[in-house]
């Protein structure tokens, strides 16, 4: 068989193997964030820790973070001390994927010698500390930190570690179950890689790695070479926790790389919304790849030409022990920041600003004081929800759809099976899409209450309360986030807040910005928006000057 064809077959096979690996994780995981929402990633690496292939899952934020992680494991464990049957673990934000809730598990693959690694990451429902939220003042308050260590040594599970995890997290069954699921999914990948190496009589992965890296690098560089050699900057101000945050990026397109520099971005925030650099790199890279090289698979070589710099101690290069639990709220805003700069270089290609961050919340339910029901229990419930995406140069934005994250929301019926919570409303929010030639996607309205006999704390993770998504090229901003109680009391966009017994949390999640002047939207499109109730008659009159 010609080598070219054989290598192509093997590359395809590796991509298929990591998809199987990810699938195994979804099917064995316990947390809804993994099994329903797909907040996970999986990849295969060569013996030097360079990523060969990664499953396409819901989390661009894991892309580069995972790509780098294996190198830390090689250094900390020591390659010479690795054995078949070993499984390693960490949730260190700076060695893994940016916050304690993501647990990364790495499994070495041996033939006669070490030939590669499988790694995977999943977001677990709880990791102890204050609980998932923005309130920590340092990473120590955010929960249990597991340094890089053995989860299993030559097949024997590290029971001490399992005991420590069990004693420190709120939903021990789910969290320990998820760690096992992570180990299992690597094992699925390992079995399949071993079979592939037997089929093709490979003793190591160096030749196929070389083939993948060479073709990926060349394809990526061709795309970059086709861009204008220019520099452009963009700034975006967002809510932050107590004080607004300025995200500023300068993009520089060179012959063989694109450099993104966050030089004048705000400093570290006192609260847990800071972003370790790996996560900044991931979302910056993701935005650039979407616009420049969308179909080139992620691996060490295709990611290498995208370089990301940020001053140490800035909010996008937060240093240990800064609090980082909600790093996604800021990290999800980076693509809008980057695309805004790219718009200056590549007009008519990128969307307007959108909701950006997922509008997640975690609620902690407990029986009301004085209730004496022996069946009553505490429960932690995490929900992912999406605002609207920005309008595109030729298309409306997507309503209630994640961008840049790609996770799935959990079904309301599945959420209500996990704890005494009642979701009273979850539907589109009319008039929240920014007006424009192309309208921004709609956000959504939600109402959340506790079942009879329960009360809850609400950990909010929302942005765009004071800084809605901006339109582009004359498009108007999307609707801002609102968080109130059912009696109208205004609540904070971020942080843990008690909801009084009997009250509901009322959310209006943000819409995407419009693209192009509203005056150029066709009457047919406006009429359709009115028919479907996406836009009210009053807003049509105000924003588009449209009268029936």
């Amino acid at each position: 068989m010609t080598d070219t064809v054989a290598h192509q077959v093997m590359w395809n096979r590796l991509i298929s193997i990591v998809e199987e690996q990810a699938q195994a994780l979804v099917r064995t995981a316990f947390s809804t964030s993994v099994r329903e929402a797909g907040d996970l990633s999986a990849g295969v690496y060569d013996s030097e820790g360079r990523m060969l292939a990664q499953a396409v899952t819901g989390t661009p934020g894991h892309v580069n973070a995972m790509a780098e992680s294996v190198g830390h494991f090689m250094r900390e464990i020591g390659v010479a001390r690795m054995s078949p049957g070993d499984v390693y673990i960490t949730n260190d934000p700076w060695w893994g994927t940016g916050h304690l809730h993501d647990i990364t598990v790495v499994t070495p693959v041996f033939r006669d010698k070490l030939v590669g690694f499988f790694a995977c990451t999943a977001h677990v429902v709880d990791i102890g500390g204050r609980g998932f939220g923005a309130d920590g003042n340092s990473v120590y308050e955010e929960g249990l930190r597991i340094p890089i260590m053995h989860f299993a040594r030559e097949g024997e599970v590290n029971r001490d570690l399992v005991g420590i995890v069990r004693a420190n997290v709120r939903e021990a069954v789910q969290v320990v179950g998820d760690i096992h699921a992570l180990a299992t999914c690597n094992e699925v990948g390992l079995r399949r890689l071993t079979a592939m190496m037997e089929e093709f009589a490979l003793s190591d992965l160096s030749a196929i790695a070389g083939f993948i890296f060479e073709n990926s690098r060349r394809a990526t560089l061709e795309r970059i070479a086709a861009l204008p050699r220019r520099t452009a900057a963009n700034e975006m101000v967002i809510d932050g926790f107590a004080t607004p945050i300025r995200l500023a990026v300068t993009l520089q397109i060179e012959e063989e790389r694109i450099l993104a520099d966050y030089a004048s971005t705000s400093g570290t925030d006192p609260k847990g919304i800071n972003v370790p650099l790996v996560y900044t790199q991931a979302y910056t890279c993701y935005a650039l790849k979407c616009a420049v090289a969308p179909e080139i698979p992620n691996n060490w070589a295709s990611l290498a030409p995208f370089e990301v710099m940020a001053p140490p101690g800035s909010i996008v290069n937060a240093l240990d022990p800064a609090p980082v639990a909600l790093r996604h709220v800021i990290g999800h805003m980076l693509p809008d920041t980057v695309l805004g700069a790219l718009h200056e270089i590549l007009p008519d290609r990128v969307p307007a600003e959108g909701a950006g961050a997922l509008c997640n919340f975690q609620i902690s339910l407990r029986p009301v004081e004085g209730a004496n029901d022996p069946g009553a229990r505490r429960a932690e419930v995490l929900m992912f929800n999406c605002g609207g995406s920005g309008a595109r140069p030729g298309l409306d934005g997507m309503s209630a759809t994640a961008f840049p994250s790609g996770v799935m929301t959990m079904p309301v019926e599945a959420v209500e099976q996990t704890g005494p919570v009642i979701i009273w409303q979850k539907e589109l929010r009319p008039d929240s899409g920014g007006a424009g030639t192309h309208r921004g996607g709609l956000g959504q309205n939600m109402q959340i209450g506790a079942a009879d006999g329960y009360r809850f704390d609400f950990s909010a993770m929302f942005d765009r309360v004071h800084h809605p998504a901006r339109g582009r090229e004359g498009g108007q901003p999307g609707g801002a986030t609102r968080f109130t109680l059912s009696d109208g009391t205004e609540m904070q966009g971020k942080g843990r807040q008690a909801i009084p017994p009997g009250a509901r949390a009322v959310l209006a999640l943000p819409g995407g910005g419009g693209y192009g002047p509203p005056g150029e939207r066709t009457p047919e499109q406006i009429r359709r928006d009115l028919d479907l109730g996406y836009v009210s008659a009053e807003a049509a009159r105000r924003d588009y000057g449209y009268e029936e």
């Binding site: 298929s16 797909g38 069954v173 179950g177 399949r192 060349r218 994640a402 961008f403 589109l428 109402q447």
Partner: protein
Amino acid sequence: MRNSGLPVCPAEFNLCHNGKGKDPIVSDQTARIGVDIGGTFTDVVLETGAARVSTKVLTTYDAPERAILAGIAEICDQAGIAPGEVGQIIHGTTLATNALIERRGAHTALITTEGFRDVIEMRTESRFEQYDLNLKLPDPLIPRNHRHVLDERMDAEGRVLRAPSPEAIAGLVETIRAGEYESVAIGFLHAYANPAHEQAMRAALTAALPDLSISISSEVSPQMREYERFNTTCANAYVKPQMAAYLGRLTERLAEIGAVAPVFLMHSGGGIIDLDTAAEFPVRLVESGPAGGAIFAADLAARHGLDKVLSFDMGGTTAKICLIKGQAPKTARVFEVARSYRFKKGSGMPISIPVIDMVEIGAGGGSLAGVDAMRQIRVGPESASSEPGPACYGRGGTRPAVTDADLVLGRIDPGNFAGGRIVLSTEAAGEALEAHVAGPLELDRLQAAHGVSEMVDETMANAARVHAVENGEDLAEYTMIAFGGAAPLHAARLCQKLGIGRLLVPSGAGVGSAIGFLRAPASFEATQSTYMRLGTYSQSAAVEVLERLGAEARGFVARCAPGAEIGESRRAFMRYVGQGWEIPVELGPDLSPDALRSGFEAAYAVLFGRVVEGLEIEIASWSVNAIAATPPGIGETSPEQDTAADEHLTREIFDPGIGRKTSARVIARGAVGRAPLSGPAVVVERETATVTPTSFAIHAAQDGTLILTREEPA
């Protein structure tokens, strides 16, 4: 139209096999007809006791029953019997699927829980393609202005949180009347746990609007997860008036020509339902054609005594792969229809009904090949279809298709394609490969053709592997059954890639689905959600559930096949407490908690490689499948003698297993005999050719099935 009084789980049963004289419904002399309406052709197959005739007529889109009548007239004529002598008609159709894909359904409304008007529009709030900034999401089946809400609410355990007021229900009845809807879907949150509010809404609508077609989620798809359940209910409502009208017309027209036999419908789960049930739950007819193909393969598996089979159906634009274990196709509870984006998962709409679990890949003979930015050969899902067709057809196609590669590799005889009706141009195929693959990659034409063939085979093999992994199966223990026009050309190579040592290519494969309709074994699966934790498990309660389910299942089968020996397999759907997805666990006679625990742990370890210690285990639901012993079926016969190979008839074919060209014998299908003949060989027939590579030997079974077996290297 009946709208009330139906059981929550519709009656559904599989018909008896047409056995040798002991079938109670169908005597040996009575003819049975299978009809499969496909996108291009309507296949009609008639079997009498020992003979089979079949025909393909063009599908008549405006009135599909016309093609059926024409086909039936033709085959009855051929067989020399009157339509009135036909004992049974079993029908499968893609009409429901097409209505969903082409959005040609009824004027339909959805009534749903207040606060959840947009569930079917918001989907999972995710993007099915991560890197496409210009992604277009599929439109919801029912637009927002036709989705109406009722102030009502159940909790997760089915307790009423808010009862709907009679005034609110009456208001909605008026909305539906004023909206002049033909069909209404009702989907309320947690209705799978308590259908009372859905039933109350339906009762009010039926009382006021007796002709209205109504579908409620607690009957159409009583499963947790609102998006899937609501969407399935909407899909059912959307196609229901059309399908009911079509089925009505069909029976009338059949009666007009004297064909008064009972008509049964093949459903997506591989069983057969009666006309009333089909009209009530037409969404269950989606995918009935491919289900027939799987049953066709399952029947062949039974006749050849094969327990583990991978069926591989490859046509012009897609390939379908299905696991068949214990002679029953693997089933699932949810699948996706009308994918809008390169067959991508998530780009269609989920339908949660019992369905034969098939993987569909955009890879067929017409799939087009090219080279992408990474200098990787890519094949499909774009297809050359029949016009202009692959480059070798010489009808203006310039891009290389899989068929072009097959031709250049010597697998197809250019002078004898489709029975000689089309003369293929190897030169045109080579030029297309040169321009789009060989040139850019600096390969020769043969290498390029090999690359295209390898990539399409690899894509299919990967899909089969992923599917096997998801089901914890090791394909090395499997036998492949290949049918469809392009499958025999690629099947042996797929076997090599998957480590499969045995391949069957049945006769009659061109109308496999329609034959499959006639082959559904008598079986019935009864299921029930009865939640138990192993920690507080009651063995007597479990026995009671299983005995009740067993009696119900055996009752259906016994009606279909009185006196037949009925086997029973019992399963529990189990998981660790807190997991989201159950796994099926086969139950033995021992129902002690220890036996269930060890059964679960064994099944879990097979699927996922390890067990989790110290976690509680729960049982979500139970099922009992009763199945009657399948009598041997009819088939063709093959010559008793050795293969009549003409030593001088050979062709150069490229053998990917050895990586070079080799001289292969060319044998007509009818000339293949009982003794194994070592490859390389090409067995030719009218519509296709079976490629036997160097490492395989081929012979024919008594029923005419070609059997390829891997030869161990000496």
